[in-house]
C-alpha cells in the first residue's frame, strides 16, 4: 500500500478537493485494510477479497473508496444510509470484519493537536493527521452476513416485473399481492414519469414468471 501522504494527495485529486473528510477517510481505510490483513486491495488478487460497507455519503466515503479500491459497480462498495461516519471492512477470504467509526470526541480535540494554526480549516487538516488512532476512531470487531444476492460476481438471479415488464436483477424484486414486481411498481418510484407511461411488455407476461435457477452467464 502507498504511504499516507501519497494516498491523501491522490484521493483529494479524485474527490475534487482536500478536506478533513479526506484525511479521516484515508486514515480509516488504511486502518481498516491493516486490520483485515490486506495491503494491496486495489489490485488483484486482493481486489476480490474486500467488501466495504459505508454508512454515510460524504467526503470520507470517496477517500475510503479510493484507498480500498472498492466500487459500487464491482459490488464491493455497499452503502447503508445511516448518516454515521463509519465503515465496515470485510475480508471475504478470512471472514474477518471490523467496523470503524469516527468519534465525535475527535472534533472537540482539534485545537489540542494544532493550536498554533489559526485558520480553522487548516487546523482541522493538521489535527486529523496528528491525532492518535484511538482518539480518532472507535473500532469494533463485527460479523457481517452478506446474503448471496449482494455478493460480487456474475448475476445469479433475474426476474421480470409483472407490471412494467422490466428485468429486475439480484433478488431486488418484491412479491406483492400474488405478483412479482420491481420496487418502483410495488412501493412507488423516486421519479415521476412525464408524458405517456410505457408498459408495452406488461400484457405479454405470464402470471408467475420467475426464474429460480442460477444464471450461468452474466447479463
Amino acid at each position: 500500500m502507498q504511504d499516507f501522504e501519497t494516498l491523501l494527495k491522490n484521493s483529494a485529486e479524485v474527490h475534487g478537493h482536500l478536506c478533513p473528510g479526506q484525511i479521516v477517510g484515508v486514515r480509516m481505510a488504511m486502518l481498516g485494510c491493516e486490520l483485515i490483513g490486506l495491503n494491496n486491495p486495489r489490485q488483484l488478487p486482493q481486489i476480490k477479497k474486500i467488501i466495504v460497507y459505508v454508512e454515510i455519503d460524504r467526503c470520507a466515503t470517496d477517500a475510503i473508496a479510493y484507498v480500498t479500491g472498492v466500487k459500487l459497480g464491482r459490488r464491493s462498495l455497499k452503502f447503508i444510509d445511516n448518516g454515521i461516519m463509519a465503515a465496515t471492512f470485510i475480508n471475504l477470504e478470512t471472514n474477518r470484519a471490523f467496523r470503524i467509526r469516527s468519534t465525535e470526541k475527535s472534533r472537540e480535540l482539534i485545537t489540542d493537536y494544532a493550536p498554533e494554526i489559526k485558520d480553522k480549516h487548516l487546523r482541522q487538516l493538521e489535527a486529523y493527521k496528528q491525532m492518535p488512532t484511538d482518539l480518532l476512531f472507535k473500532i469494533q470487531t463485527v460479523d457481517v452476513k452478506i446474503p448471496i444476492h449482494n455478493m460480487p460476481g456474475p448475476t445469479r438471479f433475474k426476474t421480470i416485473c409483472q407490471n412494467c415488464g422490466i428485468a429486475v436483477r439480484d433478488k431486488k424484486e418484491v412479491y406483492q399481492n400474488e405478483e412479482i414486481l420491481c420496487r418502483s411498481c410495488a412501493f412507488g418510484a423516486y421519479y415521476r414519469i412525464l408524458g405517456k407511461k410505457n408498459h408495452a411488455n406488461a400484457g405479454a407476461l405470464k402470471a408467475f414468471n420467475y426464474e429460480p435457477p442460477f444464471r450461468k452467464t452474466p447479463c
Binding site: 471472514n95 412479491y175 406483492q176 410495488a186
Partner: protein, 355 residues
C-alpha cells in the same frame, strides 16, 4: 423413521495422506490457525483444493498428514450441494447466506413481509434421502434478515442424481418459500358501543388497532364511534367503502346480546360475503366480510382484554393482500388455542401455528 441408514459413508471418501502428497486434492476438514493475540480461525477451509504454495504454510501449522477427499464427478461436496438446494428453495423475498456454515445454509427474509411456505412440497422435499430443510411456520410475519429456514445435504458428500432429484422437487413447486410484502393500506375504523358513543367509558380500541397496524407499516385514515345501531353501522360501512378504504375494521358488537348488532350492520351494508366465527380462542366471534376485494373485519370485545387474538393472526395476511375463505378461518383451529400466558410471548409460541 430415519431417512438413511447409519453406515459411516464419509470414510469411503476420506484418505489420510502425507502433506507433501496433498497438492491438487480437496481438504476434508477445516484447518484452524492460531496466531496469539492476532488471529484464530480457519486458514484452510473444508473443500479447498491444496496448492503447491500451501505446503510450507501447512507444515508451519504442524500438519504432517491431512484427510483429503477423492470425489468423482457424480459426487458433490455438501458445501457445493447446499447452494443448489438453497437456490431451488428460495423464492421471491427470500435470499440466503453466500457461504455455508458447517454445511448448512440459512434462508433469510430479503424484506419485511408474510412468510409463505408450501408445506406439502416441503414435506416431499424432505422425503428425499440425504437432504433436509427445516423452517419456521407458514404465514409468520417476518422482518428483513430473519432466518426462515435452514437446509443442508446430510452426508459430507451427496450423489449428483439425489441432489438433482431434490432440486427438481423444489423447483416443481417453486417457490416453496416466499415472502409477500405488506401493502400500505388505507384503513378505517368503526368503534361500536352505546357505552363509548355516549361517553360513559373511554375507547381503548383505537390505540390497540393503531399499534397493530403500525407494526406492518399502515396507519388509520379515519375513525368513527357509533352507537349499537344497525342502520348507522351499515351507513358508515358503505360510506367508508365509497371513501376508497382498502380495509375496514369494526370493533365490538360481535356477540349474541340484543345490542350486539355490528355484524348485522355489516351484512346490511351490502357486502358480498360474510364469514362469522373463527376456530380461534380468543376470537371465536370474529367476523370477516368482503365487498369485492375489500375486507371488513369485526373484532370481538376480547380484542380489548387479550394482548393477542385472532385479529393478530388475520391482520398480516390481509395486509399481504390475501383473500381469505371460511376454510382459511377453519384451518386456524390447529394451533388456534392461546394459552393465555402470564407474559405473552407471541409469536414465539404455538398460537396461530397451523402447520
Amino acid at each position: 423413521m430415519l431417512k438413511q441408514d447409519d453406515r459411516p459413508r464419509e470414510r469411503a471418501y476420506f484418505q489420510k495422506i502425507k502433506v507433501k502428497d496433498a497438492v491438487g486434492l480437496t481438504l476434508g476438514h477445516d484447518i484452524t490457525e492460531v496466531r496469539p493475540g492476532e488471529y484464530k480461525g480457519p486458514s484452510f477451509r473444508k473443500g479447498y483444493k491444496v496448492q503447491e504454495g500451501d505446503l510450507c504454510h501447512l507444515m508451519r501449522l504442524g500438519k504432517r498428514h491431512l484427510y483429503v477427499m477423492d470425489l468423482n464427478e457424480n459426487q458433490i461436496h455438501e458445501d457445493e450441494a447446499v447452494i443448489e438446494l438453497a437456490n431451488a428453495l428460495a423464492g421471491p423475498g427470500v435470499t440466503f447466506e453466500a457461504e455455508p456454515r458447517e454445511g448448512k445454509i440459512q434462508l433469510i427474509a430479503a424484506y419485511d413481509g408474510l412468510l409463505k411456505v408450501q408445506v406439502d412440497p416441503l414435506t416431499e422435499f424432505n422425503l428425499i434421502p440425504d437432504v433436509m430443510c427445516a423452517s419456521i411456520h407458514n404465514n409468520t410475519p417476518v422482518k428483513k434478515g430473519l432466518p426462515l429456514a435452514g437446509t443442508r445435504a446430510i452426508p459430507l458428500v451427496i450423489e449428483r442424481d439425489i441432489l438433482d432429484q431434490a432440486v427438481s422437487v423444489a423447483t416443481a413447486s417453486f417457490p416453496i418459500f416466499a415472502v409477500k410484502a405488506f401493502n400500505t393500506v388505507s384503513t378505517r375504523l368503526i368503534i361500536t358501543g352505546n357505552e363509548v358513543s355516549e361517553g360513559l367509558i373511554e375507547d381503548r380500541f383505537e390505540a390497540i388497532v393503531s399499534r397493530k397496524l403500525a407494526a406492518y407499516g399502515s396507519t388509520l385514515a379515519e375513525t368513527a364511534i357509533l352507537p349499537d345501531d344497525q342502520d348507522e353501522i351499515s351507513s358508515m360501512v358503505r360510506y367508508f367503502l365509497e371513501a376508497g378504504s382498502d380495509l375496514i375494521i369494526t370493533t365490538g358488537g360481535m356477540s349474541v346480546d340484543p345490542d350486539d348488532v355490528t355484524r348485522l350492520g355489516i351484512r346490511g351494508a351490502g357486502v358480498d360475503r360474510v364469514h362469522y366465527g373463527a376456530a380461534v380462542l380468543p376470537g371465536a366471534m370474529f367476523l370477516l366480510a368482503y365487498k369485492g376485494d375489500t375486507p371488513i373485519v369485526g373484532i370481538p370485545a376480547c380484542g380489548l382484554y387479550h394482548p393477542t387474538t385472532v385479529f393478530d393472526l388475520i391482520l398480516p395476511r390481509l395486509l399481504a393482500g390475501e383473500l381469505l375463505t371460511t376454510r382459511d378461518l377453519a384451518r386456524l383451529a390447529h394451533g388456534g388455542l392461546c394459552l393465555d400466558c402470564a407474559t405473552c410471548r407471541y409469536p414465539a409460541c404455538s398460537f396461530g401455528k397451523t402447520g
